[in-house]
């Protein structure tokens, strides 16, 4: 076919295909941050999106209110039952708190992995095609948001920040199929068992917690919270409740199915947790292997 190479349209199409594949593979690469034109587009669309999101959130709120109004009677019954326990628990909590404070003073240890500065953010969009589980928030690096920070609702952990631009940030939700997504977690009990939240079971709609030491007792119904050992997440953010325990693929460690405590279906307001204690480059971090356990004095001063 001598005419083949002279067909301009065909050559244009081929060049276009090559360009396309190059572009897709460039953007699929594990990029640490958005490029400048991307940031500009993201911020512009983000601003427009947050204007539209306000009335939309309002309307969604009205529907939620109606929904909760319908459940009022049953909820009231349940709450009354729990109210009796509440007084006792509260008294115990205050006592423990003051105890804890005194002991901390005794030890001269004021920093805690639990403490964090909350940044309140509104969800302005959810990835409409829903292949990747992502939400977009209206707070960005100019508000102090950084990559890999924990994002949660009042009920529990929802995900972590993956991309930050000056005025928006993107959150990858916990139930993603991304194999590199890990959260260091622990099971609350008499002896704390540590493990990693790794992956999500699509059929059961539950998270999978792996790498739990097999010598430790882990039971159904126990609470799972973040351990804060990953380096960036604060400690004690609730993740969920164990529904089933089994052994790992190789039989060396235990694994557990965890039912997430946060409600993922309606997310409108979330809290980004900026940990007060020094952030360490760990498994939740970008793994650059920098020695951050002994940070330079200058950066410590800045944080205060």
């Amino acid at each position: 076919m001598p005419h083949f190479f002279f067909n301009k349209k065909l050559i244009l199409l081929l060049v276009g295909m090559v360009f396309l594949v190059a572009l897709i593979s460039f953007s699929l690469r594990d990029r640490t941050n958005a490029t400048l034109p991307e940031q500009i587009i993201k911020d512009t669309v983000g601003v427009a999106q947050s204007i539209v999101a306000k009335p939309a959130n309002y309307i969604a709120g009205v529907f939620n209110n109606i929904d909760s109004l319908l459940n009022t009677y049953e909820e009231n019954k349940r709450l009354k039952a729990r109210l009796e326990e509440f007084a006792a628990v509260q008294a115990e909590a205050t006592e423990l708190k003051s105890d804890n404070k005194k002991l901390r003073e005794l030890l001269d240890k004021s920093e805690s992995l639990k403490e964090f500065n909350p940044i309140h953010a509104t969800v302005i969009a959810r990835n409409p095609d829903q292949w990747e589980e992502k939400i977009i928030l209206d707070k960005g690096s100019s508000h102090g948001v950084e990559k890999n920070m924990a994002v949660m609702t009042a009920k529990g952990l929802v995900g972590k920040v993956t991309v930050v631009t000056p005025f928006t940030s993107e959150v990858e939700l916990l139930y993603t199929s991304n194999p590199n997504y890990r959260v260091s977690a622990m099971v609350l009990g008499e002896t704390e068992a540590y493990g990693l939240i790794e992956g999500f079971d699509k059929e059961r709609n539950e998270l999978i917690m792996k790498r739990i030491d097999s010598s430790l007792p882990v039971k159904k119904g126990q609470q799972v919270v973040s351990s804060g050992l990953g380096g960036i997440f604060p400690k004690n953010v609730p993740i969920g409740e164990i529904t089933e325990v089994s052994t790992d693929d190789f039989g060396l460690t235990k694994m557990a199915y965890v039912k997430p405590s946060a409600d993922f279906s309606i997310l409108d307001y979330v809290v980004i947790a900026k940990r007060s204690t020094t952030v360490v480059d760990g498994s939740d971090g970008s793994a650059t292997n920098e020695d951050l356990t002994h940070p330079p004095e200058a950066s410590k001063e800045e944080e205060k």
């Binding site: 587009i41 999106q49 409409p128």
Partner: protein, 174 residues
């Protein structure tokens, strides 16, 4: 006035899509169904059919790039698929009658094709691992139903708006 109405409706639909996406997924009897709003591409298909194929492809490219950068972070996916779908729609309509029922059907079929290509792509790059049957049941079917409903409600309005623009243009020319 009508001149600016066409792109502004497209912008509005673009911004509304993620708000509707927040309503999904829905759970019925323990089964989870994903409804993917595809309002923008439906509107662009209508532009392609009733107004101008070239214009629709240009809009498709523009919004495709926005879509890629803002939501997907894979540049070159929607920015190719949107113009391609618009081009297909514009080409099909040259053979077929332009009745509203026919165009609605074509639009829904094209959206289904778009959804299927996207599934294949994400399956290829390991973003998803759901089998084909699950995809058909939990995603494609509910999406088709939801978008067909949307088009039944608003299709005539799109057609009316675009026709107004076409008439205006004809008057300008004469």
């Amino acid at each position: 006035m009508v001149r600016f109405l066409i792109p502004s409706v497209a912008v509005l639909l673009f911004l509304l899509e993620p708000e509707f996406a927040m309503l999904s997924p829905i759970e019925i009897k323990g089964q989870i169904y994903y409804l993917v709003p595809r309002f923008l591409i439906l509107y662009l298909i209508f532009i392609s059919i009733y107004y101008s194929r070239q214009r629709a492809v240009m809009y498709g490219l523009f919004f495709g790039v926005l879509y890629d950068v803002f939501y997907i972070d894979i540049i070159g996916l929607y920015s190719v698929l949107f113009p391609l779908i618009c081009f297909l729609a514009g080409s099909i309509v040259k053979i077929i009658h332009q009745h509203l029922v026919v165009t609605t059907t074509i639009s829904v079929v094209l959206v289904a094709i778009l959804e299927f290509i996207l599934y294949q792509f994400f399956y290829l790059i390991d973003f998803t691992s759901i089998p084909l049957s699950d995809f058909l049941r939990s995603r494609l079917l509910p999406t088709i139903i939801a978008n067909a409903l949307f088009l039944m409600i608003l299709g005539w309005a799109f057609k009316y708006l675009i026709n107004a623009r076409v008439l205006q243009r004809a008057r300008e020319v004469s």
